[in-house]
C-alpha cells in the first residue's frame, strides 16, 4: 500500500509534449507509473513515449479513466491546467510549476478543497510511492536514496528530501510514500492533511517531516500529534536556522505569525508533542532506527 498513488493509479500528464514533460514522462514510466494519457492543447493525436496525447483533459479522462494528473505547464497557465483537471473529475493533481502567482495559488487551493480533491504544489518536486509509481521530478532510480520501506516522508523542499532520504536508506530503511508539499506560501495541501493519510496507511510505520523556517505547518503538525490524531513515530528535521531573515511582510506578517515560525519554536512544539528532532540530516536515520526499534 501507499498513500494517494499506487502502481494502479491511472495517471495523466498535462503538458506532456514540452521538453520537461517529455523528459520526465520517460522517468515516470520507468518508475512503474501507469501513465494512460497526455494532454497538450493542439497536439491531440500525437504520442509521447507511446502515451497518446489529447487536446483536453476531459477527453483523456473519458477515454482512459485517468484519476491523477501531473502538470508540466508554465506558471502562467498553471491555474487553468489545474482547474481543467479538477473540472474533469481528477482527484489528485501534482502542480510542479515554480513561479505561480499567489492569487492563483489561493484559487487553486479554494477549488481543490471545495471539490474534495488533493493538489500538491505549486512548486513541488512531486511525489512517489516507492517501488510503485512517481509523479514529478523524484529520482527514484537512485538506489542509495530511495528504497521500499516503512517510512513515510513529507517535505516542503525537494533537494533536501534527496539528502534526507539518502540517510534513511543508509540506515538500512526505506520509504513507503514521499509527498512534496511545495515551497510556495499557499500550497494546495498542508502538512496535517497529508499526515491524516499516512496515519491510516498500513505500509507506513513511521513518518519523517522535513520542515523549514517560516509558516505554521510544523506547529499544526505538533498540535495534531498532541491531540492524538497522529499516533505513529515522527522524526523531524527542520532547516533554516541560519537562513537570512525573509522579506518583511509589513506588520501584517508579524501579526499573523505572532512569534511562531522560528526553527527553535517549531522544534520545541514538535518535541513537546512527542516527536524526535534531528539537528542534521545525517541524524534522521539513527533516530528512525530508535523509533522503529530495529
Amino acid at each position: 500500500m501507499a498513500i494517494l498513488l499506487t502502481k494502479d493509479t491511472k495517471v495523466l500528464v498535462q503538458g506532456i509534449t514540452g521538453n520537461e514533460g517529455t523528459f520526465w514522462t520517460k522517468h515516470m514510466l520507468d518508475a512503474g507509473t501507469r501513465i494512460v494519457a497526455g494532454v497538450t492543447p493542439g497536439k491531440g493525436g500525437k504520442q509521447v513515449h507511446g502515451v497518446p496525447v489529447y487536446n483536453t483533459v476531459l477527453e483523456a479522462v473519458k477515454k482512459h479513466g485517468a484519476e491523477a494528473s501531473v502538470v508540466f505547464v508554465p506558471p502562467a497557465f498553471a491555474k487553468d491546467a489545474v482547474f481543467e483537471a479538477l473540472d474533469a473529475g481528477i482527484k489528485l493533481v501534482v502542480l510542479l510549476a515554480d513561479g505561480v502567482p499567489l492569487h492563483d495559488a489561493m484559487e487553486i487551493r479554494a477549488l481543490s478543497r471545495q471539490l474534495g480533491a488533493t493538489v500538491l504544489g505549486p512548486n513541488t518536486p512531486g511525489m512517489a510511492s516507492i517501488g510503485q509509481a512517481m509523479l514529478g521530478f523524484i529520482p527514484v532510480w537512485l538506489t542509495d536514496v530511495y528504497r521500499v520501506g516503512p517510512v513515510g516522508v513529507v517535505a516542503r523542499s525537494g533537494s533536501l528530501t534527496n539528502e534526507v532520504c539518502s540517510h534513511i536508506v543508509a540506515a538500512g530503511l526505506g520509504q513507503s510514500t514521499f509527498v512534496g508539499l511545495g515551497g510556495d506560501p499557499v500550497p494546495g495541501t498542508r502538512l496535517t492533511e497529508v499526515m491524516r493519510l499516512f496515519e491510516s496507511d498500513p505500509a507506513t510505520e513511521a513518518l519523517v517531516i522535513i520542515g523549514e523556517v517560516g509558516g505554521t505547518m510544523e506547529e499544526e503538525a505538533a498540535e495534531m500529534i498532541e491531540k492524538g490524531e497522529f499516533t505513529k513515530p515522527v522524526v523531524c528535521f527542520i532547516t533554516g536556522r541560519s537562513a537570512p531573515p525573509g522579506k518583511k511582510m509589513g506588520h501584517a506578517g508579524a501579526i499573523i505569525t505572532m512569534g511562531k515560525g522560528t526553527v527553535k519554536g517549531k522544534e520545541e512544539a514538535l518535541k513537546k508533542a512527542g516527536a524526535m528532532i534531528a539537528t542534521r540530516p545525517a541524524e534522521v536515520g539513527k533516530l528512525l532506527k530508535e523509533a522503529l526499534r530495529c
Partner: protein, 377 residues
C-alpha cells in the same frame, strides 16, 4: 516587489481610497511648489522601502513652502537606513484624532486572503496584537466571491463603530480589497489609517507588496536595481536566482531553498561562516554559470561550496554551466562540491575530467572540507 509609499498611494487614488493631498518630489524646488499648491502645513516624507522611517529621522514637518524646500533639500540624496533618499513625498499635514490599522494579506493557514483591522494602529501595532489580540479584528475572505459587504460591516461593528461610520469604513475596506486583488498583492497595508478630527478616514501611509511571480502580468511594475540592497542581488534576480549577501567567507551555491538553508546550517554547525545565500534550483538550474560568476565576484569569498541534490535541477546540466564558468573565470579560490541527483553520472564526468574538480560523496563531507579551507585561508 515592495512599492514606495507614493506608488502605493497612486494605486489607492485609482481605487477611490481617500489619501492626503500631495505629490512626490525629486528636487527641493519641486517640494517648494507642491507645498505652495497645498497651501498649508505639510509633511516631507522620505521615500525608502524599509520601515521605521520616522524614528530614523526621515519624516519632517514644514509650515511654509520655504521650509518644505529646506527639509526636502536636507533629506534628498542622504542615506537613510542603507537606502539613498531619491524622492520625498510632500503631503498636507493631517489633523489626526486617531491612528488605526487596516490590511489585506494572505493567511497561509487558510490559504486565502485575510482582512485585519484595528483601532490601535501606528508603530506599536505588533505589540498590541501580541498583548491584546482581541483588538485586532479579522475576516477570512473567500477568494472566489471576494470580501462581502456583510464581512466589512461585521468587522466595523466588531470595532464598536456606529451609524455612518460603519458604512464609511466598510466601503473603504471593499475598495482596498479590490486594490489587493487587482494588483496581485501579497500585502496591502494602511498604517496608520488616520481618523481626522472631523471623523474622516484617510490612508496616511501605504505599504503595498506586489507578488514577484505575478509581475509578468502586472506590467506597470518593473523591479529595477533600486529595489535591491546589493548589486549582486539585482544581477542574480535577472537570472531568476535568489541571492542574499551574508557576512561570512564561504560562498554557497545550492539547489533548492531547503538544501541551501541546510547547507548554511551545517556550515554554522561546523564552525564556518557563509558569505551568501544562493539558490539556483527549480526552473533556473540552467543558470549555474551565472550563479558561480556572482558568488565569485564577492571579494569576501575565500572558498566556494557547491551542494546540489537536484530533482528537476539536472546535475548534468548544472555541471555543464559550472565547468564553463570555471574554464572562463579561472577562479583563484578553491571550490568544494557535492553534486548529486538526476544525471549525476554525467555530472561527475564533466566536472572531474574537464575542470579537474574532485566531488565529495555527500553534503556533510563537502561542508566540513569547505569550513576547513575557509579557516586555513
Amino acid at each position: 516587489m515592495k512599492l514606495y509609499e507614493y506608488e502605493g498611494k497612486e494605486l489607492f487614488r485609482r481605487g477611490g481610497i481617500p489619501i492626503p493631498r500631495g505629490r512626490v518630489a525629486s528636487t527641493a524646488e519641486e517640494a517648494y511648489s507642491i507645498a505652495a499648491e497645498i497651501g498649508k502645513e505639510v509633511v516631507v516624507k522620505s521615500q525608502i522601502l524599509q520601515g521605521g522611517r520616522g524614528k530614523a529621522g526621515g519624516i519632517k514637518f514644514a509650515s511654509s513652502p520655504e521650509e518644505a524646500k529646506a527639509r526636502a533639500g536636507e533629506l534628498l540624496g542622504q542615506k537613510l537606513k542603507t537606502e539613498e533618499i531619491k524622492k520625498v513625498l510632500i503631503e498636507e499635514k493631517l489633523d489626526i484624532a486617531e491612528e488605526w490599522y487596516l490590511s489585506f494579506t494572505v493567511d497561509p493557514a487558510a490559504g486565502g486572503p485575510l482582512l485585519m483591522v484595528s483601532r490601535s494602529g501606528g508603530v506599536d501595532v505588533e505589540e498590541i496584537a501580541l498583548k491584546s489580540p482581541e483588538r485586532i479584528v479579522t475576516e477570512k475572505i473567500n477568494i472566489f466571491y471576494g470580501l462581502m459587504p456583510f464581512q466589512a460591516r461585521r468587522a466595523a461593528f466588531a470595532l464598536g463603530l456606529e451609524g455612518n461610520k460603519v458604512s464609511e469604513l466598510a466601503s473603504l475596506m471593499l475598495k482596498l480589497y479590490r486594490v489587493f486583488r487587482q494588483y496581485d498583492a501579497e500585502l496591502v497595508e494602511v498604517n496608520p489609517l488616520v481618523v481626522t478630527s472631523e471623523g474622516e478616514f484617510i490612508a496616511a501611509d501605504a505599504k503595498v507588496i506586489i507578488y514577484d511571480n505575478a509581475l509578468y502580468r502586472q506590467k506597470e511594475f518593473v523591479k529595477g536595481p533600486e529595489r535591491f540592497e546589493d548589486e549582486r542581488e539585482y544581477r542574480a534576480s535577472q537570472y531568476g536566482l535568489s541571492y542574499v549577501k551574508l557576512d561570512g567567507n564561504i560562498g554557497v551555491l545550492c539547489t533548492g531553498a531547503g538544501l541551501t538553508m541546510t547547507t548554511l546550517d551545517l556550515i554554522t554547525y561546523y564552525g564556518g561562516r557563509p558569505a551568501n545565500f544562493l539558490e539556483f534550483g527549480g526552473a533556473t538550474y540552467k543558470n549555474s554559470y551565472y550563479a558561480l560568476e556572482i558568488v565569485l565576484s564577492d571579494p569576501d569569498v575565500k572558498v566556494v561550496l557547491i551542494n546540489t541534490f537536484g530533482l528537476v535541477a539536472r546535475a548534468d546540466v548544472i555541471s555543464e554551466g559550472l565547468a564553463q564558468a570555471i574554464e572562463e573565470l579561472k577562479p583563484k579560490v578553491p571550490i568544494v562540491a557535492s553534486i548529486r541527483g538526476t544525471g549525476e553520472e554525467e555530472a561527475r564526468k564533466i566536472l572531474e575530467s574537464r575542470v579537474g574538480l574532485k566531488l565529495f560523496p555527500n553534503v556533510e563531507t563537502a561542508v566540513q572540507e569547505a569550513v576547513r579551507l575557509a579557516g586555513a585561508s
